[in-house]
């Protein structure tokens, strides 16, 4: 994307004299700014959605006063945070206190350089993209420890230490789970991983249910691995139920306790950037990234018809059982199905890969994370370590072995 942008800049007559290296640097800056804008806007939107989702799950209304349905609430919050006084505690380590939030933010924003939004839209097509993302996102721990130590506050230090222990513990099962996928594809390049998931195939190779050829349906071990990865990643980004580093009821706000205003906003930004990153990784590695779930034009029509049928049956079932259910999802799927049958162009567009499908999948995973957050209670520290070392790690190891055996059995890999 950077190279193509630089080439596009050089096509203008006025700008062609600047030289290719200057154009490349300029486009580098533009892409970095675009990524940062994406992260910032994404955080604002996600905070609003999260507040709404949590409100609906708790039979509340959520923000309603600022803008229509409170849509401008987070914008107002962001403006308020920007205006706030920059407070640095007297006894804090000033250098680390200032650097810490930026380390966290940079570490979480830089990972987006390797994320492919669509088959053409990505900043850097690295051949070690997956490795790069996993390793860079681990730097977040460094920033958290810096912030916690510099605050000179017991809650902050506790939070930072817990966070370090937690992230290091969960890095291992997460890494091994990703290795299982890499073992199937044979590449660390994210584009190659996504391209390997195109088309349709049978569920678990043998069961005759036509499904998209995503890795989550590729074999039963990867099916489990997807959930193992989701759990481990949730722990890695310090979200509930694994939010003991910033558990409000015990540690005030964990490593963020002493931060306010813009610095606190940076923490929030990186938190949602990390959540989005995890959602992107799940979508890329297990759900086919920017690949459409429908193979072609007819596949789209049939697929949406099936979805509508299922929606009708489910709505009727729940209505007869509880007497109350929102009909909007049913109406939406019904409208899309009619559109797909009436307008072939729309069906072709739905069947083609693109950023739409990527964002749909990412949104689903983020909603799943929010669903987790507003459903599950927080784990105890020892339970957290128990889950990591005694449940998730053995499971990921078994998955890795199982995937290898599966590949050998199905003959996809010859030794």
């Amino acid at each position: 994307m950077i190279t193509s942008l630089a080439n596009w800049i050089l096509t203008f007559d006025i700008l062609s004299g600047m030289g290719s290296s200057v154009a490349w640097g300029l486009s580098l800056f533009v892409v970095a700014a675009l990524i940062f804008v994406f992260v910032a806007v994404n955080a604002i939107v996600l905070v609003y959605i999260e507040r709404k989702v949590s409100a609906f799950m708790q039979v509340r209304l959520g923000p309603m006063r600022v803008g229509k349905f409170g849509t401008l609430q987070t914008v107002a919050d962001a403006l308020k945070l920007l205006q706030k006084e920059d407070i640095i505690p007297k006894m804090a380590d000033k250098v680390l206190f200032i650097v810490g939030p930026w380390v966290i933010l940079v570490a979480s924003v830089v990972t987006f350089a390797a994320i492919p939004f669509s088959d053409t839209l990505l900043a850097a097509n690295m051949n070690i993209g997956l490795y790069y993302i996993v390793s860079i996102s681990s730097i977040v721990v460094l920033g958290i420890v810096m912030a916690g130590w510099a605050s000179n506050n017991k809650w902050s230090l506790y939070g930072a230490m817990r966070s370090a222990a937690q992230i290091i513990s969960y890095e291992i099962p997460v890494g091994i789970t990703l290795i299982a996928v890499v073992a199937v594809v044979g590449s660390l390049n994210l584009q190659t991983i996504i391209e390997a998931q195109g088309g349709t195939g049978n569920l678990f190779y043998w069961i005759p249910i036509p499904l998209p050829n995503w890795f989550i349906f590729h074999n039963p071990f990867l099916f489990i691995a997807a959930f193992v990865y989701l759990i481990g990643a949730t722990a890695e980004i310090n979200r509930t139920p694994f939010d003991i580093p910033e558990s409000e009821s015990e540690l005030v706000a964990g490593f963020m306790t002493e931060f306010s205003g813009l610095r606190w906003a940076l923490f929030f930004l990186s938190e949602y950037a990390n959540a989005t990153l995890v959602a992107f990784l799940v979508a890329i590695v297990f759900l086919g990234g920017w690949q459409s779930p429908f193979a072609d034009y007819e596949g789209t029509q049939i697929g949406f018809s099936i979805i509508t049928l299922v929606a009708i049956m489910w709505t009727l079932f729940v209505r007869t059982k509880t007497g109350r259910l929102s009909v909007y999802p049913l109406g939406l799927s019904f409208v899309i199905t009619i559109a797909v049958w009436l307008f072939p162009g729309f069906a072709i567009w739905l069947a083609s890969p693109g950023i739409f499908w990527m964002l749909m999948k990412v949104g689903t995973i983020i909603f799943l994370l929010m669903w987790f957050r507003w459903t599950f209670p927080r784990l105890r520290v020892d339970q957290l370590m128990y889950v990591s070392w005694k449940v998730i790690l053995p499971l990921s190891l078994i998955n890795l072995m199982g995937v290898a055996i599966w590949m050998w059995l199905t003959g996809e890999i010859q030794f």
């Binding site: 989702v53 609906f56 799950m57 708790q58 039979v59 509340r60 209304l61 309603m64 509880t322 109350r324 259910l325 929102s326 999802p329 669903w371 987790f372 507003w374 459903t375 599950f376 005694k390 449940v391």
Partner: protein, 324 residues
Amino acid sequence: MSYFSNISSAITTLVDGMKVTMGYFVRPREHVTLQYPDEVWPIPTRNIGVGEIDSYNTIRSKLVVDFEDCIGCKACERACPVDCINIETFKAGPEEDIGTTKNDTKIKLRVTSFTIDMSECMFCDLCTHPCPEDCIHMTPDYQFISNDNVKLDVTPEERWRDRDHLIYQFSKVSPEEREQRAAEAAKVAAAKAAAMEAKKAAAEKAAAAKASAEQAALDEAAREASVVEVTQSAASMPITPPAPIGSSPQSTPLTDAISGPAPDIISVQDTTPPDDTVEKLNIPMETITSPEVSEEKPVATETTVEPEKSTDTEDSSTGETENG
């Protein structure tokens, strides 16, 4: 084995919990949260069984005056047990037309200030019933809010409100006019006082002679009166006999011009210090039951009874000590 059952039970319980939250998420929104300024709970109807009288059956949340109907009679101010109503009135000029109330009563007093301190009001409703024009009443409006202290946009009844102390001003009279009225009233009062002084100075000599003459007449009457007549006069004495004395111009120096006539007994004391009719007047009803009461005797009984009482107490005490 418990290891695997733990994992399976964890998965099933997590799925159960997620079902619950998703059920609430998908459910159409019901009105659990009340969006306050837009939506308000209905005010409950109140019927305490006093028929159709509205002033009894309204929820008492705020005291409000229909200021156009206020005649400044201060009946509500007097009725208030906590003194939260404060009214300031000035007499309107003879050619001034302030208007009439809804009952066609002509308003004769200009009410320059009508404040209700809602932080002190205890919503007892005692002020609403004395009102002759039914202009002060309780409303069920419980929202004591406004955007600022001066301009009002919630209820149009009051002119300004002090939000810190919840003092509500209902009078529409401007502060300038209020000051002007107060100055005029002070001028009128000063003129009145001066006239009174002159009157008093002129009447002082005549009054002294008149008072002595009256006193002599009273003394004679008291001596000549029978026992029944004495008791009757003593009973009616605080009200009727001093009235002519009190109304005489000598009685005014203590009081100021605006307030009403001074208490009569004080004036009597001032005018006739040497005479003992005062003591006679001050004797309570119960003590004048004996037929031998005259104006000399009370002094004698007082002087004689006290030593008797003291001796009685001494005797009893000595007796007790002897017994002890």
